[in-house]
Amino acid sequence: MKKEDIEKIEEQMKLANEGLPEKERQLFSDARPTSVPPLNKYLEKFLNWGRAQSLWFLGFGTGCGAVELRPLMTSRFDISRYGIAGRPTPRQSGVFIIGGYASMKTVKRIVRSYEQMQGPKFVIALGSCTINGGMYYDSYNTINRIDHYIPVDVYIAGCMPRPEAIIAGFNKLKEKIKTGKADGMNKYAENFDWYKKNQKQIIKDWNMPDFNW
């Protein structure tokens, strides 16, 4: 091994989880995420079909959009007929719904929850405020573009989006998954440093691990 390479590795090791105290660092992983290339063409197609059929979303209503998720689960819209259901923890869920504006305090929790989710994982962003800030474009506490902090697969516009629009958004996501275009997770792994830089820019007191898995 060259000396430069060793230095590079040491540099990476130093960067990992630097926000944590020394005692807690060993509790968390220091391995960077890796992008997962598609498998054999037909097998991948089959897997994608399977992934599209059961989308379990994380019940983290980050904003007002969450109020429309509740009617979705009742008899009128009945989202479970599409194989979609809410789950309480990030470890069990595959879809992250950003329910509207994300305040700075929430971004930290969003990043942490997103990283704890197991792949393959997808992100749906509800509402205009996740696209360009919407009504809160000039607010000091809400971010304007969520896609600079975590990768987004489907946007649903509106303030707030109607339940029908959310169902349409889920169908769009299914289409994307079936054609293999929903690769937000790989994007996150490939541009990991860029995402981390953006996140650290706005989260001033970074006291959580860099790799939450």
Binding site: L58, G59, F60, G61, T62, G63, C64, A66, V67, E68, R70, P71, M73, T74, S75, R76, P88, Y101, S103, K105, T106, R109, S113, M135, Y136, D138, S139, Y140, N141, T142, C159, M160, R162
Partner: protein, 399 residues
């Protein structure tokens, strides 16, 4: 033999060694001793209480200390309103509270009218009252679903949240929006009632009544619900003043304070309405009181629908709103939301933009001081039920 075991039972003394030492009425918690664990409930949506986190210290499953953390929904509304003209402001105030936006609209537009000295037409007042009552019933239907869901009874929330959807449909016909209505604007209301609205609303009132009787049978007569809610989170009459508790939480403890009757606004002084109170003050009494208030709201809606004038102006004439300057002054306007007194304190300095708009939400004290006090010494599994029984709405805490 029986006598023996009885005496054994009565002589039982709890092992106090596992509880924390008390000093000056506060528990001294030593986390290093491995007797206590720190847990976080939230900030993921724990039911319908919204995004707020409760940091709890537990011993076994008993909560020793609770601390509320808010700020996950802070958008800086009060700062944003300083940058918007008075007429631009009304599109944004209703976003302060999601399940019940109309109280915000009402308070904001009344405050602006109060400062500008505008008298609104009679019919607009009736329409505002109708809108406010409809939003109350929609919010209560969501709440009772949450209360049942937090104790593990999912059926009720399926029924009531499903029923709430029909109320949202009515809102859509009335104002054009499902969740955010933007119906009451300074000077009156935005639209007249559409054709056939009265019949639909009356029909829905009957449907909701029928649903509520089902809810009563399954929820209020359920042994598990009774045993879990009775005695949980008792608010004493002394606490009401000490902590500034308002709304159903205060009324369940015997404080007759309802803004609709104490300081009647809109058309509440002409309606047949009675103050509902209870004296027990626990979570079950609060649930029962809210259930009665749902019936009261339905009753008021039928009254309003009968008495609403058929013709008349719905909007007072305003000056050019693009350059609308409001005379300098300060005012405080309040209304009764489902959670209690909801108020707007508006300060104008004579320019196009308000100097300060402050929104006082009832949850501000309920979710922080009161919850922290009531959560002590209850079981960890009852915390969600307690949070919902206080009916907190975090967006109005942090705005």
């Amino acid at each position: 033999m029986i006598k023996n075991s009885e005496s054994k039972y009565t002589n039982f003394i709890a092992d106090r060694s596992k509880y924390p030492k008390m000093e000056n009425g506060k528990a001294v918690i030593d986390l290093e001793s491995h007797k206590y664990t720190k847990l976080w409930q939230g900030p993921q949506h724990p039911g319908v209480t919204g995004n707020m986190a409760v940091e709890i210290t537990v011993n076994g499953d008993e909560i020793i200390k609770a601390k509320t953390h808010v700020g996950y929904l802070h958008r800086g509304f009060e700062k944003l309103l300083e940058r918007r003209t008075y007429i631009q402001g009304f599109t944004i105030v209703n976003r302060i509270c999601v399940p019940e936006p109309d109280t915000n609209e009402y308070c904001y537009s009344t405050a602006v009218e109060d400062l500008a000295g505008i008298e609104i037409p009679e019919k607009a007042k009736w329409l505002r009252t109708l809108n406010l009552e409809m939003s109350r019933i929609a919010s209560f239907l969501m709440w009772i679903g949450g209360q049942a869901g937090s104790l593990g009874m999912g059926t009720i929330s399926q029924w009531t949240v499903g029923m709430r959807d029909f109320w949202l449909d009515l809102f859509e016909e009335m104002a054009g929006g499902r969740i955010y209505h933007m119906y009451m604007i300074p000077g009156g209301v935005r639209k007249n009632l559409p054709a056939g609205f009265t019949e639909k609303a009356k029909d829905l009132v009957i449907k909701t009544r029928n649903l509520l009787y089902d809810v009563e049978r399954t929820f209020f007569n359920n042994a598990i619900i009774k045993s879990r809610l009775k005695g949980l989170g008792i608010i004493t009459p002394e606490m009401v003043d000490e902590y500034g508790i308002v709304g159903p939480n205060a009324r369940a403890s015997g404080k007759p304070y309802d803004v609709r009757m104490n300081n009647p606004y809109a058309k509440y002084d002409e309606l047949d309405i009675k103050m509902l109170t209870s004296t027990v003050g626990d979570a079950y009494a609060r649930a029962e009181l809210r259930y009665k208030e749902m019936h009261q709201s339905l009753d008021l809606i039928s009254q309003i629908l009968d008495r609403i004038p058929k013709t008349g102006e719905i909007h007072a004439k305003l000056p050019n709103v693009l350059h609308w300057k409001i005379p300098a002054g300060q005012t405080y306007v309040k209304a009764e939301s489902t959670r209690g007194e909801h108020g707007f304190f508006v300060v104008s300095d004579g320019s196009k933009f308000p100097r300060r708009v402050y929104n006082r939400g009832a949850s501000y004290t309920h979710a922080i001081s009161v919850l922290e006090k009531l959560a002590e010494n209850i079981s960890i599994s009852d915390l969600a039920g307690l949070m919902v029984s206080l009916h907190t709405c975090p967006p109005e805490i942090e705005r």
